[in-house]
Symmetry: C2
Subunit: 177 residues, 2 copies
Amino acid sequence: MLRPYGSTWKFGVRNQRPVICRQSRMGEETAARIEAATLRPGGVLCYVKWRMQQPDFEKRGGLVTVVTQDADSGEVLMVAYMNREAWEKTLNTGRACYYSTSRKQLWIKGETSGNVQDVKEIRVDCDADAVLLKVHQRGGAACHEGYRSCFFRTADQSGWRVVAERVVDPEKLYGKK
Amino acid sequence: MLRPYGSTWKFGVRNQRPVICRQSRMGEETAARIEAATLRPGGVLCYVKWRMQQPDFEKRGGLVTVVTQDADSGEVLMVAYMNREAWEKTLNTGRACYYSTSRKQLWIKGETSGNVQDVKEIRVDCDADAVLLKVHQRGGAACHEGYRSCFFRTADQSGWRVVAERVVDPEKLYGKK
Protein backbone atom coordinates (compact mmCIF):
# COMPACT_ATOMS: atom_id res chain seq x y z
CA MET A 1 0.00 0.00 0.00
CA LEU A 2 1.40 3.40 -0.95
CA ARG A 3 1.55 6.04 1.70
CA PRO A 4 -1.63 8.07 1.37
CA TYR A 5 -1.29 11.79 1.00
CA GLY A 6 -2.11 13.83 4.07
CA SER A 7 -1.76 11.21 6.75
CA THR A 8 1.14 10.50 9.07
CA TRP A 9 2.55 7.19 10.12
CA LYS A 10 3.99 5.78 13.30
CA PHE A 11 5.79 2.50 13.81
CA GLY A 12 5.59 0.76 17.10
CA VAL A 13 5.12 -2.40 19.05
CA ARG A 14 1.77 -3.31 20.51
CA ASN A 15 0.99 -6.58 22.27
CA GLN A 16 4.47 -7.77 21.33
CA ARG A 17 3.76 -7.41 17.62
CA PRO A 18 5.05 -4.83 15.15
CA VAL A 19 2.31 -2.45 14.16
CA ILE A 20 1.95 0.54 11.96
CA CYS A 21 -0.47 3.24 12.96
CA ARG A 22 -2.03 5.74 10.65
CA GLN A 23 -2.92 9.04 12.27
CA SER A 24 -5.61 10.39 9.99
CA ARG A 25 -6.65 13.99 9.59
CA MET A 26 -9.58 13.20 11.90
CA GLY A 27 -7.14 12.37 14.69
CA GLU A 28 -8.20 8.76 14.66
CA GLU A 29 -5.76 5.93 14.79
CA THR A 30 -5.95 2.81 12.67
CA ALA A 31 -3.57 0.02 13.47
CA ALA A 32 -2.60 -2.89 11.29
CA ARG A 33 -0.03 -5.60 11.47
CA ILE A 34 2.87 -5.18 9.07
CA GLU A 35 3.41 -8.03 6.67
CA ALA A 36 6.15 -6.24 4.68
CA ALA A 37 7.57 -2.72 4.62
CA THR A 38 10.16 -0.91 2.53
CA LEU A 39 11.96 2.17 3.73
CA ARG A 40 13.83 4.69 1.55
CA PRO A 41 17.25 5.88 2.81
CA GLY A 42 16.68 8.07 5.83
CA GLY A 43 13.86 5.87 7.07
CA VAL A 44 11.09 7.27 4.90
CA LEU A 45 8.35 4.74 4.45
CA CYS A 46 7.67 4.10 0.79
CA TYR A 47 5.80 0.80 0.73
CA VAL A 48 3.99 -1.30 3.28
CA LYS A 49 1.91 -4.41 2.88
CA TRP A 50 -0.34 -4.75 5.86
CA ARG A 51 -3.03 -6.98 7.20
CA MET A 52 -5.94 -5.63 9.18
CA GLN A 53 -5.65 -6.58 12.84
CA GLN A 54 -7.56 -9.63 13.94
CA PRO A 55 -8.38 -10.79 17.45
CA ASP A 56 -5.83 -13.21 18.87
CA PHE A 57 -7.55 -16.52 18.12
CA GLU A 58 -4.39 -18.51 18.75
CA LYS A 59 -4.09 -17.62 22.45
CA ARG A 60 -7.11 -19.68 23.60
CA GLY A 61 -7.23 -22.50 21.09
CA GLY A 62 -9.04 -20.76 18.23
CA LEU A 63 -11.61 -18.83 20.26
CA VAL A 64 -11.99 -15.37 21.75
CA THR A 65 -14.34 -14.62 24.65
CA VAL A 66 -17.26 -12.35 23.82
CA VAL A 67 -19.25 -10.16 26.21
CA THR A 68 -22.53 -8.90 24.82
CA GLN A 69 -23.98 -5.75 26.29
CA ASP A 70 -27.22 -3.88 25.63
CA ALA A 71 -26.15 -0.81 23.66
CA ASP A 72 -28.74 1.43 25.36
CA SER A 73 -28.97 0.27 28.97
CA GLY A 74 -25.44 -1.11 29.40
CA GLU A 75 -26.83 -4.34 30.85
CA VAL A 76 -24.53 -7.31 30.27
CA LEU A 77 -26.69 -9.81 28.38
CA MET A 78 -24.47 -12.85 27.90
CA VAL A 79 -21.01 -14.32 27.51
CA ALA A 80 -20.15 -16.48 24.53
CA TYR A 81 -17.24 -17.32 22.21
CA MET A 82 -16.23 -16.60 18.62
CA ASN A 83 -13.92 -18.38 16.24
CA ARG A 84 -12.51 -16.54 13.20
CA GLU A 85 -15.53 -17.45 11.06
CA ALA A 86 -17.99 -16.06 13.64
CA TRP A 87 -15.91 -12.87 14.01
CA GLU A 88 -15.88 -12.26 10.25
CA LYS A 89 -19.58 -13.06 9.89
CA THR A 90 -20.40 -10.62 12.70
CA LEU A 91 -18.31 -7.88 11.05
CA ASN A 92 -19.80 -8.54 7.62
CA THR A 93 -23.47 -9.00 8.56
CA GLY A 94 -23.82 -6.62 11.54
CA ARG A 95 -25.55 -9.40 13.49
CA ALA A 96 -23.99 -11.28 16.39
CA CYS A 97 -22.59 -14.67 15.43
CA TYR A 98 -20.85 -16.92 17.93
CA TYR A 99 -19.23 -20.32 18.00
CA SER A 100 -21.22 -22.79 20.09
CA THR A 101 -18.74 -24.71 22.23
CA SER A 102 -21.41 -27.32 23.09
CA ARG A 103 -22.67 -27.88 19.53
CA LYS A 104 -19.20 -27.20 18.07
CA GLN A 105 -20.54 -25.14 15.21
CA LEU A 106 -21.27 -21.61 14.07
CA TRP A 107 -24.16 -20.13 16.03
CA ILE A 108 -26.06 -17.31 14.40
CA LYS A 109 -27.78 -15.77 17.42
CA GLY A 110 -31.55 -15.68 16.96
CA GLU A 111 -31.63 -18.04 13.99
CA THR A 112 -34.06 -20.36 15.82
CA SER A 113 -35.67 -18.03 18.36
CA GLY A 114 -35.84 -14.90 16.20
CA ASN A 115 -34.06 -13.02 18.97
CA VAL A 116 -31.40 -11.58 16.69
CA GLN A 117 -28.76 -9.18 18.06
CA ASP A 118 -28.10 -6.15 15.85
CA VAL A 119 -24.52 -5.04 16.48
CA LYS A 120 -24.08 -1.33 17.18
CA GLU A 121 -20.42 -1.36 18.16
CA ILE A 122 -17.55 -3.84 18.51
CA ARG A 123 -14.75 -3.33 21.04
CA VAL A 124 -11.55 -5.35 21.44
CA ASP A 125 -9.57 -5.60 24.66
CA CYS A 126 -5.91 -4.85 25.38
CA ASP A 127 -4.77 -8.44 24.80
CA ALA A 128 -7.05 -8.84 21.76
CA ASP A 129 -8.41 -12.11 23.16
CA ALA A 130 -11.77 -10.71 24.30
CA VAL A 131 -14.44 -8.86 22.35
CA LEU A 132 -17.28 -6.65 23.57
CA LEU A 133 -20.40 -6.38 21.41
CA LYS A 134 -22.85 -3.56 22.04
CA VAL A 135 -26.13 -4.70 20.56
CA HIS A 136 -29.81 -4.09 20.16
CA GLN A 137 -31.50 -7.28 21.38
CA ARG A 138 -34.57 -8.09 19.30
CA GLY A 139 -37.42 -9.76 21.21
CA GLY A 140 -36.15 -8.54 24.56
CA ALA A 141 -34.59 -11.79 25.77
CA ALA A 142 -30.96 -12.77 25.22
CA CYS A 143 -31.20 -15.81 27.51
CA HIS A 144 -32.57 -19.16 26.36
CA GLU A 145 -34.39 -19.33 29.71
CA GLY A 146 -36.47 -16.30 28.72
CA TYR A 147 -34.71 -13.65 30.78
CA ARG A 148 -33.45 -10.37 29.32
CA SER A 149 -29.92 -11.26 30.50
CA CYS A 150 -28.32 -14.63 31.20
CA PHE A 151 -27.07 -13.07 34.46
CA PHE A 152 -30.44 -13.29 36.21
CA ARG A 153 -29.06 -14.70 39.48
CA THR A 154 -27.10 -12.93 42.16
CA ALA A 155 -24.65 -14.81 44.39
CA ASP A 156 -23.25 -14.17 47.82
CA GLN A 157 -22.09 -16.24 50.76
CA SER A 158 -25.67 -17.17 51.65
CA GLY A 159 -26.52 -18.61 48.24
CA TRP A 160 -27.93 -17.73 44.82
CA ARG A 161 -31.13 -15.80 44.13
CA VAL A 162 -33.07 -15.05 40.97
CA VAL A 163 -33.27 -11.25 40.74
CA ALA A 164 -34.89 -10.76 37.32
CA GLU A 165 -38.29 -11.36 35.80
CA ARG A 166 -38.81 -13.66 32.83
CA VAL A 167 -39.77 -11.55 29.80
CA VAL A 168 -40.49 -14.44 27.43
CA ASP A 169 -41.80 -17.99 27.94
CA PRO A 170 -38.84 -20.23 26.95
CA GLU A 171 -41.26 -22.72 25.35
CA LYS A 172 -42.41 -19.97 22.99
CA LEU A 173 -38.78 -19.23 22.06
CA TYR A 174 -37.86 -22.75 21.02
CA GLY A 175 -41.15 -24.67 20.89
CA LYS A 176 -42.42 -27.11 23.50
CA LYS A 177 -40.28 -30.23 23.75
CA MET B 1 -30.28 -29.90 57.48
CA LEU B 2 -33.66 -29.98 59.25
CA ARG B 3 -36.50 -28.16 57.64
CA PRO B 4 -36.56 -24.69 59.16
CA TYR B 5 -39.83 -23.54 60.66
CA GLY B 6 -41.73 -21.01 58.61
CA SER B 7 -40.20 -21.55 55.22
CA THR B 8 -41.53 -23.51 52.26
CA TRP B 9 -39.64 -25.79 49.94
CA LYS B 10 -39.78 -26.57 46.26
CA PHE B 11 -38.02 -29.34 44.39
CA GLY B 12 -37.07 -28.91 40.79
CA VAL B 13 -34.52 -29.26 38.08
CA ARG B 14 -32.34 -26.37 37.07
CA ASN B 15 -29.51 -26.59 34.54
CA GLN B 16 -30.09 -30.33 34.39
CA ARG B 17 -29.32 -30.74 38.08
CA PRO B 18 -31.71 -31.49 40.95
CA VAL B 19 -32.16 -28.46 43.15
CA ILE B 20 -34.08 -27.57 46.23
CA CYS B 21 -35.32 -24.02 46.62
CA ARG B 22 -36.18 -22.37 49.87
CA GLN B 23 -38.80 -19.68 49.61
CA SER B 24 -38.12 -17.57 52.65
CA ARG B 25 -40.52 -15.27 54.39
CA MET B 26 -38.79 -12.39 52.59
CA GLY B 27 -39.87 -13.88 49.27
CA GLU B 28 -36.31 -14.57 48.27
CA GLU B 29 -35.24 -17.82 46.75
CA THR B 30 -32.10 -19.69 47.70
CA ALA B 31 -31.09 -22.64 45.60
CA ALA B 32 -28.73 -25.40 46.52
CA ARG B 33 -27.76 -28.72 45.03
CA ILE B 34 -29.13 -31.74 46.86
CA GLU B 35 -26.58 -34.20 48.09
CA ALA B 36 -29.08 -36.36 50.00
CA ALA B 37 -32.75 -36.06 50.91
CA THR B 38 -35.21 -38.11 52.94
CA LEU B 39 -38.95 -37.90 52.48
CA ARG B 40 -41.62 -39.05 54.95
CA PRO B 41 -44.59 -41.00 53.50
CA GLY B 42 -46.71 -38.57 51.50
CA GLY B 43 -43.63 -36.78 50.19
CA VAL B 44 -43.02 -34.54 53.17
CA LEU B 45 -39.41 -33.51 53.31
CA CYS B 46 -37.86 -34.39 56.63
CA TYR B 47 -34.13 -34.26 55.98
CA VAL B 48 -31.91 -32.85 53.28
CA LYS B 49 -28.17 -32.53 53.05
CA TRP B 50 -27.33 -29.84 50.58
CA ARG B 51 -24.34 -28.08 49.14
CA MET B 52 -24.42 -24.41 48.21
CA GLN B 53 -24.36 -23.97 44.47
CA GLN B 54 -21.01 -23.33 42.91
CA PRO B 55 -20.19 -22.14 39.41
CA ASP B 56 -19.58 -24.98 36.96
CA PHE B 57 -15.80 -25.13 37.05
CA GLU B 58 -15.72 -28.54 35.36
CA LYS B 59 -17.23 -27.37 32.06
CA ARG B 60 -14.22 -25.35 30.90
CA GLY B 61 -11.31 -27.17 32.51
CA GLY B 62 -11.46 -25.67 36.00
CA LEU B 63 -12.19 -22.05 35.06
CA VAL B 64 -15.21 -19.82 34.67
CA THR B 65 -15.20 -16.68 32.54
CA VAL B 66 -15.60 -13.41 34.45
CA VAL B 67 -16.90 -10.10 33.13
CA THR B 68 -16.15 -7.12 35.34
CA GLN B 69 -18.40 -4.10 35.07
CA ASP B 70 -18.31 -0.71 36.75
CA ALA B 71 -21.15 -0.84 39.30
CA ASP B 72 -22.10 2.80 38.74
CA SER B 73 -21.58 3.51 35.04
CA GLY B 74 -22.19 0.01 33.67
CA GLU B 75 -18.99 0.22 31.62
CA VAL B 76 -17.46 -3.20 30.96
CA LEU B 77 -13.96 -2.96 32.42
CA MET B 78 -12.34 -6.30 31.65
CA VAL B 79 -12.70 -10.01 31.03
CA ALA B 80 -10.77 -12.53 33.10
CA TYR B 81 -11.08 -16.03 34.57
CA MET B 82 -11.58 -17.59 38.00
CA ASN B 83 -10.78 -21.00 39.37
CA ARG B 84 -12.52 -22.27 42.51
CA GLU B 85 -9.92 -20.67 44.79
CA ALA B 86 -10.36 -17.24 43.14
CA TRP B 87 -14.16 -17.56 43.34
CA GLU B 88 -14.06 -18.34 47.05
CA LYS B 89 -11.52 -15.63 47.79
CA THR B 90 -13.69 -13.08 45.96
CA LEU B 91 -16.78 -14.16 47.93
CA ASN B 92 -14.93 -14.11 51.23
CA THR B 93 -12.91 -10.89 50.83
CA GLY B 94 -15.26 -8.74 48.74
CA ARG B 95 -12.37 -7.92 46.41
CA ALA B 96 -12.01 -9.26 42.89
CA CYS B 97 -9.62 -12.18 42.61
CA TYR B 98 -8.95 -13.96 39.34
CA TYR B 99 -6.83 -16.79 38.03
CA SER B 100 -4.10 -15.56 35.71
CA THR B 101 -4.02 -17.93 32.74
CA SER B 102 -0.64 -16.54 31.64
CA ARG B 103 1.07 -16.68 35.06
CA LYS B 104 -0.96 -19.77 36.05
CA GLN B 105 -1.60 -18.52 39.57
CA LEU B 106 -4.09 -16.68 41.75
CA TRP B 107 -4.27 -13.03 40.79
CA ILE B 108 -5.48 -10.62 43.44
CA LYS B 109 -6.47 -7.66 41.30
CA GLY B 110 -4.63 -4.51 42.36
CA GLU B 111 -2.07 -6.28 44.54
CA THR B 112 0.80 -4.68 42.57
CA SER B 113 -0.85 -1.61 41.09
CA GLY B 114 -3.10 -0.70 44.03
CA ASN B 115 -6.04 -0.66 41.62
CA VAL B 116 -8.19 -2.95 43.75
CA GLN B 117 -11.76 -3.78 42.69
CA ASP B 118 -14.32 -3.66 45.51
CA VAL B 119 -17.11 -6.07 44.62
CA LYS B 120 -20.63 -4.66 44.93
CA GLU B 121 -22.53 -7.55 43.38
CA ILE B 122 -21.87 -10.98 41.88
CA ARG B 123 -24.09 -12.46 39.18
CA VAL B 124 -23.98 -15.96 37.70
CA ASP B 125 -25.25 -16.86 34.24
CA CYS B 126 -27.79 -19.49 33.17
CA ASP B 127 -25.17 -22.17 32.51
CA ALA B 128 -23.21 -21.23 35.66
CA ASP B 129 -19.99 -21.09 33.65
CA ALA B 130 -19.74 -17.30 33.53
CA VAL B 131 -19.71 -14.73 36.34
CA LEU B 132 -20.43 -11.01 36.28
CA LEU B 133 -18.79 -8.81 38.90
CA LYS B 134 -20.13 -5.33 39.51
CA VAL B 135 -17.29 -3.41 41.12
CA HIS B 136 -15.97 -0.11 42.30
CA GLN B 137 -12.61 0.29 40.54
CA ARG B 138 -10.07 2.02 42.78
CA GLY B 139 -7.58 4.27 40.99
CA GLY B 140 -9.81 4.64 37.96
CA ALA B 141 -7.96 2.23 35.66
CA ALA B 142 -8.80 -1.46 35.29
CA CYS B 143 -6.46 -1.92 32.32
CA HIS B 144 -2.73 -2.51 32.68
CA GLU B 145 -2.26 -0.11 29.78
CA GLY B 146 -3.68 2.72 31.91
CA TYR B 147 -7.16 2.92 30.41
CA ARG B 148 -10.33 2.86 32.50
CA SER B 149 -11.48 -0.22 30.54
CA CYS B 150 -9.49 -2.86 28.68
CA PHE B 151 -11.98 -2.36 25.82
CA PHE B 152 -10.45 0.94 24.66
CA ARG B 153 -10.46 0.06 20.96
CA THR B 154 -13.37 -0.11 18.60
CA ALA B 155 -13.33 -2.39 15.55
CA ASP B 156 -15.13 -2.37 12.24
CA GLN B 157 -14.42 -3.44 8.69
CA SER B 158 -12.03 -0.49 8.18
CA GLY B 159 -9.81 -1.34 11.16
CA TRP B 160 -9.30 -0.73 14.86
CA ARG B 161 -9.29 2.65 16.57
CA VAL B 162 -8.46 3.76 20.11
CA VAL B 163 -11.58 5.52 21.42
CA ALA B 164 -10.65 6.17 25.06
CA GLU B 165 -8.20 8.39 26.90
CA ARG B 166 -5.49 7.00 29.15
CA VAL B 167 -6.32 7.91 32.76
CA VAL B 168 -3.09 6.62 34.33
CA ASP B 169 0.50 6.35 33.06
CA PRO B 170 1.14 2.56 32.86
CA GLU B 171 4.73 3.11 34.10
CA LYS B 172 3.31 4.62 37.28
CA LEU B 173 1.07 1.57 37.76
CA TYR B 174 3.80 -1.04 37.58
CA GLY B 175 7.07 0.93 37.77
CA LYS B 176 9.37 1.69 34.81
CA LYS B 177 10.96 -1.42 33.35
